[in-house]
Every structure is written in C-alpha cells, then in structure tokens.
Amino acid sequence: MRVITCCKAVPEAQDIVVTKDRQISIEKAEWKFGQYDLNAVEAGKQIVEAVGGQLSGLCAGGKILDNSKLRKDILSRGLDDLYVVMDEKMEQADTYQSAKVLEAAIQKMGDFDLVLCGAGSSDLYAQQVGNQLGELLGLPVVNAVNKITPEGDKIIVERTVENAIQVLEISLPAVFSVTSEINVPRIAGMKDIIAANKKSVSKFTLSEINADNLPNSSSEILSTMAPEQVDRRLNILEGESDEVIDAFVKLLSAELK
C-alpha cells in the first residue's frame, strides 16, 4: 500500500515573542513540523509495517523548507521519501489554496492508496485542509479517524464523533485526518536519523506541478495580535513551611467561599 502523509512546517508557538502594543514576532521562532502531523506520520508507518508498502511525506510551504535539518527531522520519523513544494505564496496560503496545491502535487506523485493528514496544523489549526483535499480529489474523506485497520482493498476505521464512535467501511483510495490520540508517535533513534540522510527528497515549484495559478485568497488578514492579557493579582507565596501553607490556604479558602 502506498500512503502519503501531508505535513506542515510551523513556527514553534512557545518561541513567539510579543512586542509592544500586542504585536507578535515569529522571527526568532524555531520551525518544526506540526505535532499533530506526527500522529499522521506514525499512523502511516504502522500501516506500511502491517501490510507492506511505502510511506511518502508531502509538504508545501515557503523557503523554510530548504532547511535540510527540518526535512531530515520529518524523514527520520518513518517516511521512506519526501516531496516538497516550495513557493513564497504558500506562506500565507488559506485552506482551499493549500488543498489545491497538495492535490496538484499528489497527482504528480503517482499512484497512491491513502492520504493521511493530522488533526490540524499546529499554527492555524483550521482542521480543513484534509477535508478539502479529499473533496478536490473526489475521494472518500473522513476526519477524526481514531483507528485504522486495512482489510484488502478496503479499510475499516473508527471515527470519534462527539458522544459516539462510528465504525466505517471505506473503499480505497481515500483521505483521512487522524486524531491526536490515534497513537503515540515514535521518537527517532540515532539509526533513523542517519538513515534520513539517504532518503530521497523531491522538490517542486508550483509551476512544476501545474499549480501556479492559485485560486484567489478567500480572506484578507487584517491583523495578528497577542490576546489581551487578563489582569491577575500575582499574589505568589514561596515555601513549604506551615506558615506559608497557612497563608496560602487562607487566600484559597477566601476564593472558595
């Protein structure tokens, strides 16, 4: 089975700096592949380990994808090869534009049985690229997939909707977005990291996948600002002595009345 896992490189939220007037800066942020994407890579890896096949990674983004350390990191998580679509336009791509580009890239990548996405990207978390990609490809598409069991040319999945679990029988090829609970992504060992050096990386521009005419943006970004801070009292005690505990309990009890 050939599985394609889509991944997005994002700036680490904890490295985002708030400058004056609630402006934010991502200039100093380290870029990593999204934490939810790692669940999709792991889910793909478990499928190819179970039934054989190939696991390809696909990512689209700006020039950050030239960073070989970043690419090696995702390759070391179990991918057999990686396809990269790099264009500045992708830096602000919306969900439909992203899905369009991934669709074009997938058509270039040849035959496949399953496309996997994470629960959402770690930066925008719109949770829509997988859904829109599946619809564009005209394939069965499901989100919130929490268990995957291949069965011949079909696949059985468990999908967690609010208070129920749906068991679905799905014909292949198909597109799934997996939950963040579907598995615990493995941590790459030294062997995996060394092996990642030898794995193939194919790079495309938008025109090489016939996607240079992106659809218009569906929205215009007016601002991106740090949330307004809630004023807190910052009444902080320190220590483990009876006096400190007494003082803390007094403060806490006043709140619990």
Binding site: A13, Q14, I16, I26, T95, Y96, S122, D123, L124, Y125, A126, Q127, Q128, N131, Q132, G134, E135, L139, P140, V141, V142, N143, V161, E162, N163, A164, Q166, V167, L168, E169, I170, S171, A174, E181, V184, N216, S218, S219, E220, I221, L222, S223, T224, M225, P227, R232, L234, I236, L237, E238, G239, E240, V244, I245, F248, V249, L251, L252, E255, L256
Partner: protein, 314 residues
C-alpha cells in the same frame, strides 16, 4: 455586499438556538439545514429560523456528510451570503466539503463574527493561542465553523412562523458505509459548565499519585481536568478532561493548576477563569506570570498539608 441570507447547518439540535441568534444579529433572513425531523424543524423556527431545510436520513449506513454536494447546490441556488456551520466533528467535514464545492476556504473555529461596512470580519486563534487573527472574508459566500458560546441563544418563541422544506438529497457515492455507531465508552463530563476545576499536569510523576489530586478535587467540590500530556501522552485521564487549544475551553469561577507549567496551549483553555491558582515547584514556570494566587513548592509536600488544613476548616 450586504449580508442578507444567513444559513445555519448543524447536526446538533442544541446548537440551533445560538446559531440562529448569530444569524439574526448578522443578517436578515435565517435558513437552517437540519438532518432530523419535523419536531426539530418546528423547534428551530421557534428559535429564530425563517426557513428550515430538512435533509431526511437516507439510511443508517449513510453519512450526512455525503449530502454536501446537495447542500452546496442549495446554497448556490439560494445565494447564501454567510453559512454558519456548527463546529462538531461532522459539521467540520460538511463545512470543508461544501466550501470545496464552492471553490473557497473555510474560516474555522471563529471566536467572533461581525459585519463591518458589508464585509464579514472574523477572529480566531492562531499559533496555539499565542495570537488572535482578524480576517476579512472576500468571497461571495462565506463558510465559517462556529462552536458553542460565540452567540447566545434567544428565548424560544412558539408563535414564530416559518417554513419547513423537505429535501430528498442526492447522496454522493463516496465509498463510505457506516457499519456501526456505538456510544463512546467511559464517562461523559461537561467541564465547560464546571464552576470549580482542578487541573493536573506533568508535576505528577506517576498515575497513582493522581489519587492525591482526586482527593483534593473532591475536597474543594471541583471537577478534575488535565493538561495534554496527561491525557494524550500518558493516557492517565480521558481526552474529555483535557484542557487547552485542541481540548476543552473552561469558564470556571476558579481554576487550580497543580504541577502545570503554563504553556500557552494549555492557558488558552483556562484564561477565562475568574480566579486562577497554581501550585508548582518551579518558580520560573510561565504559569506564575498569570495567576491570582500562586504557591511555589513541591506539590507532593504541600498538597497533603493544604488538604489537611482545608479539612480542618470544614
């Protein structure tokens, strides 16, 4: 562009009131798409719908998401200006599929929705809660997903009049069959309604140590919650109790964080707490920059003492 025609799509009847209220605030005419029955349709009219489009159940093995193409055709024919889709799991998939049919993006999980000079403006969280982005929609039809709590349901008015249209949708042959639907195992908790919540994090070294937190939680009459690593990494607690950007967002009177460092992804879930309390042994933990009451100390040492003293008071 004026915003006249608002559409509401939901698979959860409980969301109808709030979304209709949003629709009434933002536009003139509110049409609601439901996947249920006549009674529910009448209820939607009392809640503010002018029109209800009832998509009947095509069969137990058919997903309602497979009506997406029919829904998109309806939205196009009726010139929908704004489509408010309830952000349930199924709602999200429907939103993505119909937006694709319309050739546009979905504006997801919006926390605020306004109309300014004929343009639809939305706000939503980005970067794991580190920032709020404001966007202006540019498309003729705008598809957004909205959760509960963004709008407030108006009181129902049984005298309201409206029209119910029954639709026999085409089902896309999407290659998906529902074999079985079973209730989720385990407890159902509604943390977002809890007034007092105790959250536990990585400061607990082992699952059995949570006992200490459970006793404390019971003592202060709270519900227990946790940070992401406790629910998803360790699986010591159920996902329903995980608070944060991809989990539950709380609005309690008091939140007491035990051994939680205060990463932004967690804090967006508790920022609405009226009072924030934290116990953590690391004085430099980010949580101490945003609490009302804090105690820097080893929770294994201080928590039993605190519990004892509270017990003595009661």
């Amino acid at each position: 562009m004026t915003v006249n025609n608002i559409w509401v799509i939901t698979d959860d009847q409980n969301a109808v009131g709030e979304l209709c209220d949003g629709g009434r605030q933002l536009g003139k005419q509110v049409s609601v798409i439901l996947f249920s029955d006549q009674n529910r349709a009448q209820e939607a009219i009392s809640s503010g719908a002018d029109q209800v489009y009832l998509f009947g159940q095509a069969g137990e093995s058919v997903m309602i998401e497979d009506y997406s193409k029919s829904i998109a055709e309806l939205l196009r024919a009726e010139k929908a200006d704004l489509v408010l889709v309830y952000s349930s799991i199924r709602g999200k998939l429907i939103a993505g599929r119909i937006a694709t049919q319309l050739g546009i993006s979905v504006l997801s999980n919006v926390s605020e929705l306004t109309v300014d000079d004929g343009s639809i403006i939305v706000k939503h969280m980005v970067y794991g809660g580190a920032a709020i982005r404001t966007e202006k929609a540019l498309t003729d039809t705008v598809v957004v997903t909205v959760g509960s709590g963004v709008f407030e349901a108006m009181p129902k008015d049984a005298a309201r009049q409206g029209k119910v249209n029954e639709i026999n949708p085409n089902v896309d042959n999407a290659g998906i069959r529902i074999l079985e639907t079973r209730p989720k195992q385990g407890e159902l908790v509604n943390l977002s309604a809890a007034k007092r919540v105790v959250g536990v994090g990585r400061g607990f070294a082992a699952q059995e140590d949570l006992k200490m937190a459970e006793e404390f939680t019971a003592l202060v009459g709270a519900e227990m919650a946790c940070s992401r690593p406790i629910a998803e990494g360790e699986k010591w607690m159920s996902k329903e109790r995980y608070v944060g950007v991809s989990g539950v967002v709380l609005k309690p009177d008091i939140y007491i964080a035990l051994g939680i460092s205060g990463q932004i992804q967690h804090m967006v879930g508790v920022n609405h707490a009226k009072t924030l309390v934290a116990i953590n042994k690391d004085k430099n933990a980010p949580i101490f920059k945003q609490v009302d009451i804090g105690l820097v100390g080893d929770l294994y040492k201080v928590l039993p003492k605190i519990a004892e003293k509270i017990k003595a008071q009661n």
